[in-house]
């Protein structure tokens, strides 16, 4: 083995070690490592008809998802093979042509996925989870494709611009640039949501108390009107520094949930902020961005590297494949943080009964399957399952109330 190979191997080991240490630090959680989740028999918490409805809804949604993934892979594989032909439709230089090829790839994907998206919409409408009409959905989807094009072009312009200057080393400066953009996006997103302040005085008073307990005082609690589009209840913690806030969908405060249950929701979202989960998201993104960019650079070398427009279709395929491969890992990270937020909510509210009530109500309102199969859990679930969340509430009760 040559000295060069040894140096390379040493560098690789060092980088892997740095990656592992960083991942270890990001993985730290307030959930006690000794916590044992009791087994939850879902039929004790949900009626047979509720379980059947959730299972039936979930089955079709999962099939549509699986087919969509296959379509995505087929489209991008075909595009990677034949997509360069579209270069003749461009009079722009290499970067401009690359942007066009990127957009055409996503346009083809949009066309191919449209029937399945419409099928998924039909299924949601059938279960009264959305009120969106087909025409407005397709038109909205089309507009969203435009927004996607903007981000895609920005990303490709950065990558191709760097690749034309730095050759195959483009990924080294590109990864931090993308991390910076992700940070900027996390900061700006709350301002683009179209929200209004929460006006319920009781909930607001409760929220202020929870903020004090979780040491995230002066966090705005805002409401996002989505009732015209969906009936699904949801909430999220978003933003960084001055832009951070808790967003409640107005479908959550429409009377279907009790104040105690809403208190758990707000405590959960404040828990995300208290434990810096948005920053951790950025951190994880950074950990994936470097190897991801490197692998794309490797994959596109035989097409002349990312400085050449011919490499763009292949880069799209590589991106999708890497995304799919990373999905179980990303879901695991997300579930880990959501579990910590659940734990923070229990520690703050000391109300496992309300937490269980909230999770039980999720099944009929969202048609989430409480205990999905293992592969679904690994590939699709970015939150702990309802059964796991109930189990955590029970575990908390056992640990702190002794009941």
């Amino acid at each position: 083995m040559s000295r060069r190979h040894v140096a390379r191997a040493a560098l690789l080991v060092a980088l892997a070690a740095i990656w592992s240490v960083a991942a270890y630090l990001l993985w730290q959680s307030r959930v006690p490592s000794s916590l044992h989740l009791p087994h939850v028999a879902v039929d004790r918490y949900f009626t047979a008809s509720q379980l059947h409805a959730a299972s039936s809804y979930d089955r079709f949604s999962t099939i549509v998802w699986a087919v969509t993934v296959v379509v995505e892979l087929v489209v991008f594989a075909a595009y990677a093979r034949w997509g360069m032909r579209f270069a003749r439709e461009s009079a722009a230089g290499p970067i401009g042509t690359g942007l066009m090829l990127g957009m055409i790839g996503f346009a083809l994907l949009w066309l191919a996925e449209l029937p399945f998206d419409v099928a998924a919409l039909w299924w949601q409408r059938r279960h009264h989870l959305t009120h969106t009409g087909y025409v407005s959905y397709i038109f909205g989807n089309w507009i969203a494709l435009g927004a996607q094009f903007v981000f895609l072009c920005l990303a490709l312009a950065i990558v191709m611009g760097l690749a034309r200057r730095l050759g195959n080393w483009w990924w080294l400066p590109a990864a931090p640039v993308f991390v910076a953009l992700a940070t900027l996006s996390a900061f700006v997103t709350p301002y683009l949501l179209g929200t209004h302040p929460l006006r319920d005085p009781v909930l607001l008073r409760q929220a202020r108390t929870l903020e004090r307990i979780e040491h995230v005082q002066h966090t705005p609690i805002v409401v996002q009107p989505v009732r015209n589009v969906t009936s699904l209840p949801n909430a999220e913690a978003t933003g960084l520094g001055p832009s951070r806030r808790v967003v409640l969908w107005d479908t959550l405060i429409d009377g279907r949930f009790t104040n105690r249950e809403l208190r758990v929701v707000i405590a959960h979202e404040l828990g995300h902020l208290a434990r810096n989960h948005i920053w951790k998201d950025v951190g994880w993104y950074a950990l994936f961005a470097f190897p991801g960019a490197y692998l794309i650079a490797r994959a596109t070398r035989r097409r002349g590297g990312m400085g050449q427009p011919e490499a763009v279709p292949l880069a799209l395929l590589a991106l999708v494949v890497l995304g799919l491969l990373a999905l179980p890992l990303q879901n695991a990270i997300s579930r880990h943080m959501e579990a910590e937020a659940d734990w923070m909510a229990l520690q703050t509210t000391h109300d496992p009964t309300a937490a269980v009530g909230l999770f039980r109500r999720f099944v009929p309102t969202t048609l989430d399957e409480p205990d999905p199969s293992t592969w679904e859990y690994l590939v699709l679930e970015n939150h702990p399952t309802i059964a796991q969340r109930i189990a955590m509430a029970q575990a908390w009760r056992l640990r702190y109330s002794g009941r």
């Binding site: 439709e89 401009g96 066009m100 957009m103 055409i104 346009a107 066309l111 072009c153």
Partner: protein, 428 residues
């Protein structure tokens, strides 16, 4: 391609009587009443003609003559109203009576299928005709004691009538560019009417050059297009997503326009005091005007290729020739913002035509994979005029935009010199 059976004949000498121009709309009142009555009669005659053409495969000669007279009369009247013609028109639509006239075909066989669906098939042509001819619309609404009223007008010919009215009053002459543009609008409308009223089953053809065949072309403007008129191919996939694909260009052009705004202010002072624009700024502004043309051509399907981002010359199928920086009239520079207003009005009217042409081309191109030549050439006309307006307002030239739909012809560079040694030119 075979010439369209409905031919526009332009024998107008551009002179206008100031008095009749001033009172034009009032003088036309008897005609407006007459055309209203004639239109009602035409409506019923058209239904009969439709049925008989479906049965016999060609329109009856008498009804055909009636329709021809109506179309010719409407064209005369529109020409008079829009100041495209000067003399007061007759009331019967007789051929050869008016300087803006039509050559209409004899009754001939027509496709029964096209006759059956004529009312639907004519819709795209009516859209183009609507944006070319335009007109006024009045709407009023009231809520309790408060009310509101709105008057709007649009269309190329309508804009030309307003501008031509002022120009004719001042100069006693209609500007040739405006007259040609008005004639083109009337010609297309006449072809549409002829199609709708079963005079011919040939679809209206929007190509300005074919429409104004026989009209003397203007001298070549310093800002003009370079393109291959035969290149009509359009990629179906990129056509389908054209607007979305153009988003990066629109953002880029918008950012560029911010820089252009400040640059042109500096350039204005330089040109006003120095008499000549600064070469560096001229290059920067030229690239912007060229880039805007490339992007608009791409969005409106006048070109197929995805444009670059730098406004380079010679890389795009529809390109722009722009002048080098030269001396400019200081008065024209000083009052450029005011002077550009009439051209902006025409440009705005042409933008509507460009938009309509783009929408219709979108459908055709998805089906055929190519653009209709007529619409493509109409788009090129609108793009050319828009580029001339941009070049004028951005101080690239002090040559006023020329509204004629005809592409200009280069003026001879050198006069023929006969030297004692040179052989005498031989006739024949």
């Amino acid at each position: 391609m075979q010439a369209h059976p409905v031919q526009l004949v332009v024998e107008d000498d551009l002179r206008r009587n100031r008095l009749t121009v001033f009172f034009r709309i009032l003088l036309a009142i008897p005609h407006l009443i007459w055309v209203f009555l004639w239109t009602i009669a035409t409506f019923f005659v058209a239904i009969v003609t439709w049925v008989m053409t479906l049965i016999a495969g060609h329109p009856p000669a008498a009804l055909h003559r009636f329709m021809c007279s109506y179309i010719r009369y409407v064209t005369h009247l529109e020409a008079y109203l829009h100041l495209v013609g000067n003399p007061y028109p007759g009331f019967v639509g007789e051929e050869g009576e008016y300087p803006i006239d039509l050559r209409l075909p004899e009754p001939g066989p027509q496709s029964r299928v096209r006759t059956l669906f004529r009312i639907f098939l004519v819709l795209p042509a009516l859209v183009i005709s609507g944006v070319l001819l335009g007109g006024g619309s009045y709407s009023a609404s009231s809520k309790g004691s408060s009310g509101s009223a709105r008057y709007s007008s649009g269309g190329l010919a309508a804009a030309i009538a307003v501008l031509g009215w002022f120009a004719s009053l001042v100069r006693g002459k209609m500007p040739k560019g405006l007259r040609d543009a008005g004639a083109y609008s009337l010609g297309y409308t006449a072809q549409t009417l002829a199609y709708l009223l079963f005079v011919t089953d040939r679809y209206p053809y929007a190509d300005p050059t074919a429409m104004l065949d026989g009209v003397e072309p203007p001298p070549e403007h310093v800002v003009h297009l370079v393109r291959d008129p035969e290149d009509l191919r359009l990629s179906r996939l990129t056509v389908f997503f054209r607007l979305l694909l153009a988003i990066p260009h629109i953002i880029w052009l918008w950012l560029w326009a911010i820089a252009v705004f400040f640059t042109v202010i500096v350039q204005w002072f330089i040109t006003l005091f120095g008499g000549t624009p600064a070469a560096g700024l001229h290059r920067f502004l030229s690239k912007f005007v060229r880039q805007a043309l490339h992007v608009y051509a791409y969005i409106t399907l006048a070109a197929n290729l995805f444009p670059g981002f730098s406004g380079e010359t010679g890389v795009y199928p529809i390109d722009l020739v722009l002048p080098e920086p030269g001396r400019q009239n200081r008065w024209k520079t000083g009052f450029r913002l005011v002077l550009v207003i009439p051209a902006s009005i025409v440009s705005s009217a042409l933008s509507s035509a460009l938009f309509a042409a783009a929408v219709l081309t979108w459908f055709v191109a998805l089906a055929r994979g190519s653009a209709p030549a007529g619409l493509r050439n109409l788009s090129a006309y609108a793009l050319r005029y828009g580029a001339q307006v941009n070049a004028y307002i951005l101080l690239l030239t002090d040559a006023y935009p020329h509204a004629s739909p005809l592409e200009g012809v280069p003026e001879p560079q050198l006069a023929l010199e006969i030297t004692p040694d040179a052989p005498e030119p031989v006739a024949g």
